[in-house]
Symmetry: C2
Subunit: 235 residues, 2 copies
DNA sequence: TAGATTGTTAATCGATTAACAATC
DNA sequence: TAGATTGTTAATCGATTAACAATC
């Protein structure tokens, strides 16, 4: 492992090997920075940005340090350029093509979600098993796509050059859909169905699960109901 | 399934002090166990259950060990009773009352979500700022609730004895809604709006954020596109 | 008994925090 | 210069893994 002379196009420890926990926080920083930028703010200190993101300033600085040395000592960070750098690290510079599978009420809601178009995400396709839905338009006005048959999933992925698949089907259908997405070449999947999806290595699956989240909240609800004794027990 | 004689309602290090990471996994175990039970399976080993849940068997056993000694060496775990015990730990024995704030397409989809009624969660109320929605029914057929004015949020919380608030409003409205939920006594919030919510200590907020998840996937997409050099660089 | 599998310990790994030298 | 704030190090904390004695 050599530094010495002629470090060739040095990558500042960056982009490679970002800890997962850091990657999960970068979008939060990015969003808050965009809000600050829109409000016209020029610079921000790690302390202020951190509290807006609800992390400690030390953690924020450490996270950012993986991307390089982006701040100015004694001053802080330039809001716009920091947002830009984080955007680059996240790959928001390239538009990503989204395909939604399953257009029940959730699928429809996701297709119409404003925040989707927001950051370089483009809805390029939608498929469903229900013949009645096929041919109908979904998505934001002006950017609608036509629902196609799930039988054409393979074709749709190819034609639209889809990158990310969103599974919004019933639980029973999800694994089958997932298999077909992977077979069609999709490597990034966002799963809204309440099942644990099995995928080959190299496929990135993230899950969003209402029921799981509610159960975690229920646990805390319960624990809250149990703890009315404030450490007064000795006689 | 008793050991020794008259173990005096012993709480086995349980329920208190479960690590957060464990709490987040218990609902997954619970769901998979319910699926196995429905399929008629009597017992399951930590190895089989763990692989169905995509965790290691050591981690699964460690997680379960916080709840007590629930398995039988040489045999495994009884599916039904393990599901029951996890359900108790999560507090799924008591029904939880859900209030949804914001009935755009996402709010409607959530209200109609089957998995909600599933595990002891009951939709008890829905409020929105849009006068056109007020008075309309939402939710699963047979368990509908009537949308009321967001101005009545306080009253609705009291009348319905709501425990958990789901925020499905636009980003701009979310913090205000959150403040009002907290003021009305809600201590558990599930936030679908793309903002970082500020709450006083003692309030549990969980967030579900499509845009954040997509950005994390985008990061991995990008990294995948960069790594075509398979460790062949020495001359 | 022999084989299987748990519950638990100790070792490892990764993520967070506290503190401070560097430097604007 | 004096005050502020970063980038980084070392210490801490928490979560995961590997291994195995206990025991069905």
């Amino acid at each position: 492992m050599s530094h010495s002379i002629l470090a060739p196009a040095r990558v500042p420890a960056s982009s490679r090997g970002l800890p997962d926990a850091t990657v999960a926080r970068l979008p939060v920083y990015h969003r808050v920075l965009c809000t600050l930028a829109q409000a016209g703010q020029q610079t921000v200190s790690s302390g202020d940005l951190a509290s807006a993101c609800q992390v400690t300033s030390a953690l924020l600085r450490k996270d950012l340090s993986y991307l390089g040395s982006l701040g100015t000592r004694g001053v802080g960070y330039d809001v716009a350029s920091l947002a830009y750098r984080i955007g680059c690290a996240l790959g928001l510079s390239h538009p990503r093509h989204i395909l939604i599978v399953g257009l029940g009420s959730l699928g429809h809601a996701l297709a119409g979600y404003a925040g989707l178009a927001d950051r370089g995400f483009v809805l390029v396709g939608a498929v469903d098993a229900n013949p009645e839905l096929i041919g109908t338009p979904v998505g934001r006005p002006g950017q609608e796509v036509t629902v196609r048959s799930i039988g054409d999933l393979d074709v749709v992925v190819r034609e639209t050059d889809a990158h990310i698949g969103i599974i919004a089907t019933p639980a029973e259908a999800a694994q089958g859909v997932c298999d077909r997405l992977v077979a069609a070449g999709i490597r990034s999947i966002l799963n809204f169905a309440p099942v644990v999806l099995a995928t080959p290595a190299g496929v990135e699956v993230r899950k969003v699960d209402l029921s799981l989240e509610l159960q975690i909240l229920a646990f805390h609800e319960q624990r809250r109901g149990e703890e009315p004794l404030p450490a007064v027990m000795r006689a």
